[in-house]
């Protein structure tokens, strides 16, 4: 039989821990290409723009059914990135200004939607938008070790965890599959085009996967953590230098490590130190920022030598 302490951990903390780790690793992996292409702020903008999409999905269907909300969020994130490139191109406005215009407008629309529609009272709470709903992911684990270790048990995990798990498996596979055209497209677009590697197609596919991951992570992790995980691990890994493959793996690793240690720190360590848990999403985001700070400090001393 499984001891009670472990059982409590499995019930309350296992699913959120898994969710945050899987999402963190995937976002770190995909964030590395956003950072390489200098599109980090676009990820930021998309993560903020998810909110009006969720609200629209909620208002149209009148319920918190996951699928319409997912579609709404995906559409809003896509709309944001399309609007940014449209404004940059046709309004001839500096990209950072265009990003500022688009994401604040969409976020304002989302806030108004939540406040005015009464969705706030249901469960689209604005605080959850910021720091996610990790604590709502609980799991009823089986009672024996044999059942716990059987493959079928995996499917009893919460839906969010399964989706994030699927993305965590799919993303590295897809990246490995398109590795050569993707690197060519990132570094030397002309070369990639002349070699017939279809750089635009490959980049769009990776960008679409990034959008899906942002949307899938949003509900559990909240907007702040999504942005932090897209940028901080990749930035930290970028400071280490070295080859591209190493950088991409390091970024995923930094992301996953922030996820594991941040979550455990907030929910297991904090109660013994201050007598209560602290916000897990915020802790993971802070930890990823701390990793970046440490890497930047080391980077400085190394370049000064």
């Amino acid at each position: 039989m499984i001891p009670d302490a472990l059982r409590t951990f499995l019930t309350l903390d296992f699913a959120p821990l898994l969710a945050v780790t899987l999402a963190a690793g995937t976002l770190g992996l995909l964030g590395s290409f956003l950072v390489l292409e200098r599109r980090a702020m676009i990820g930021d903008a998309m993560a903020h723009s998810v909110l009006p999409g969720l609200v629209a999905g909620f208002l149209i269907t009148g319920s918190r059914a996951p699928f319409p909300m997912f579609v709404g969020a995906l559409a809003a994130a896509g709309l944001a990135s399309a609007a940014i490139s449209f404004i940059t191109r046709y309004g001839r406005i500096d990209p950072s200004t265009a990003i500022g215009v688009v994401f604040t407008s969409l976020f304002a629309l989302g806030i108004l939607g939540v406040e005015a529609s009464g969705a706030r009272n249901v469960d689209l709470d604005l605080d959850c938008v910021l720091s996610g709903q990790l604590e709502l992911l609980y799991w009823r684990p089986p009672s024996t070790y044999a059942e716990l270790l059987s493959p079928a048990t995996v499917l009893t995990l919460p839906r969010e965890v399964l989706i994030l798990g699927a993305l965590a498996v799919l993303t590295p596979l897809l990246l490995a599959l398109v590795w050569k055209p993707l690197t060519a497209a990132t570094f030397d677009r002309t070369y990639a085009t002349t070699r017939g590697l279809r750089p635009t197609l490959v980049r769009s596919a990776v960008f679409a996967l990034t959008t899906v991951t942002i949307v899938a992570s949003f509900e559990a992790l909240g907007s702040i953590l999504v942005v932090a995980l897209l940028t901080c691990p990749a930035a930290a890994a970028r400071l280490r230098g070295g080859r591209l493959a190493g950088f991409v793996c390091m970024s995923a690793l930094f992301g996953a490590a922030s996820g594991v240690f941040g979550y455990l720190g907030a929910t297991q360590l904090a109660p013994t130190v201050i007598g209560g848990s602290i916000d897990a999403s915020g802790t993971v985001a802070s930890l990823s920022g701390l990793i970046l700070a440490v890497m930047a400090l080391r980077h400085r001393s190394r370049s000064a030598e």
Binding site: D94, F107, L109, L112, L130, C232, I274, G282, S286
Partner: protein
């Protein structure tokens, strides 16, 4: 301000709402409402003008990082204040805003440090610092709640903005800060312009460029802090970004940009805040930003040179000319070559 529940507001007819709105707009909505309305409008005016210089320096999103990072300072100030004045349930807005200013400035310093010490692109550094420090802010707030069991109601207002819960003193403080920023921008617009367009030229002319840049940063910070309560830290950057971007679609000269951007900012703030005063559950910050966004969208379509309609008309004219050229009978080679080249050249550049 109207404190009715959602149900009774829904029962109001459009005519009644319009009457109520006219009452608020003609300053008959009570003294408190008028002070908030005036303060927000002044803030919109000042933010629109300061934002022009941030846009010209391509630093629009630095204000966003400043605003996000200010949450960490608010949390820290809340913790410290709670530690020193235990049991005092009253939030002290001045202390919170001081913390916000400190941590926001730290974040901006961290972004420029990352940019100088490493080769990270500016937007990566901005996004990383702003999200990580906002995360830290959320942790500090949850810590404060854990330790002191403090009431967080006033702090939520700083994140999402709640003009309705501002006291008269809060609104007067906001108006005073906005007024000072306005005077500073008007007084220093010449050196700010010089430093924004051509830093090296400004240096050669003997202008204190470092000081001017610090002044701009301080003005952006002052606007952000002043707008925290009314608009909220997640949206206050929009007051600095959208009006200048809209004005840029209409004009390229700095005096015109400043005037237009200031007017757009002020009118969006006035409209948003007055509509918010008659509708319950419609936060002023979000409404102000949406009015601004609408003016941007209209300008993007209709502006004379950069607008989409103007662009389409130009494109058609070029196509028409090209077609006319194509149907002309061939002339001797010496004559055609420069003519056609000029025609196609004009076509691709527009």
């Amino acid at each position: 301000m109207i404190d009715t529940a959602t149900g009774s507001a829904a029962a109001l007819s459009p005519v009644e709402l319009a009457e109520k709105w006219f009452e608020v707009v003609s300053l008959g909505g009570g003294h408190n409402t008028n002070v908030v309305l005036a303060g927000v409008t002044l803030l919109g005016l000042a933010a629109g003008m300061v934002g022009v210089f941030s846009m010209l320096k391509k630093q629009s999103l630095v204000a966003d990082a400043f605003a996000h990072a200010s949450l960490a300072g608010v949390g820290a100030a809340f913790l410290l204040h709670g530690a020193f004045f235990a049991g005092g349930g009253r939030r002290n807005m001045a202390v919170l805003l001081l913390g916000a200013a400190l941590s926001g400035s730290l974040a901006v310093a961290a972004i420029s440090w990352l940019g100088r010490r490493t080769r990270l692109p500016a937007d990566t550094a901005t996004a990383a610092v702003s999200s990580a420090s906002f995360g830290l802010g959320i942790v500090l707030l949850s810590l404060a709640r854990r330790i002191s069991g403090a009431d967080q109601a006033g702090l939520d207002g700083l994140i999402f903005g709640s003009a309705a819960s501002m006291t008269r003193g809060d609104a007067q403080l906001m108006a005073a800060v906005a007024g000072i920023v306005l005077i500073a921008v008007l007084g220093a617009s010449a050196p700010l312009t010089a430093a924004a367009f051509n830093e090296r030229f400004a240096r050669v002319r003997g202008l204190p460029v470092g000081f001017i840049e610090a002044l701009l940063a301080a003005l952006v910070a002052a606007i952000t802090i002043a707008g925290l309560q009314a608009v909220g830290m997640l949206l206050v950057v929009a007051m600095l970004v959208i009006p200048p971007a809209t004005a840029r679609l209409w004009t390229r000269r700095v005096p015109g940009l400043l005037t237009l951007s200031g007017l757009l900012g002020a009118s969006a703030a006035f409209l948003g805040a007055s509509v918010s005063a008659i509708l319950p559950n419609a936060p002023a910050g979000a409404l102000i930003i949406l009015v601004s966004a609408a003016s941007f969208a209209i300008s993007l379509i209709a502006a004379p040179h950069r607008g989409l309609v103007a662009g389409l008309i130009r494109q058609r004219a070029v196509r028409h000319r090209a077609r006319a050229e194509a149907h002309r009978p061939p002339r001797p080679i010496a004559g055609t070559a420069p003519g056609t080249r000029a025609g196609t050249g004009g076509g691709t550049s527009t």
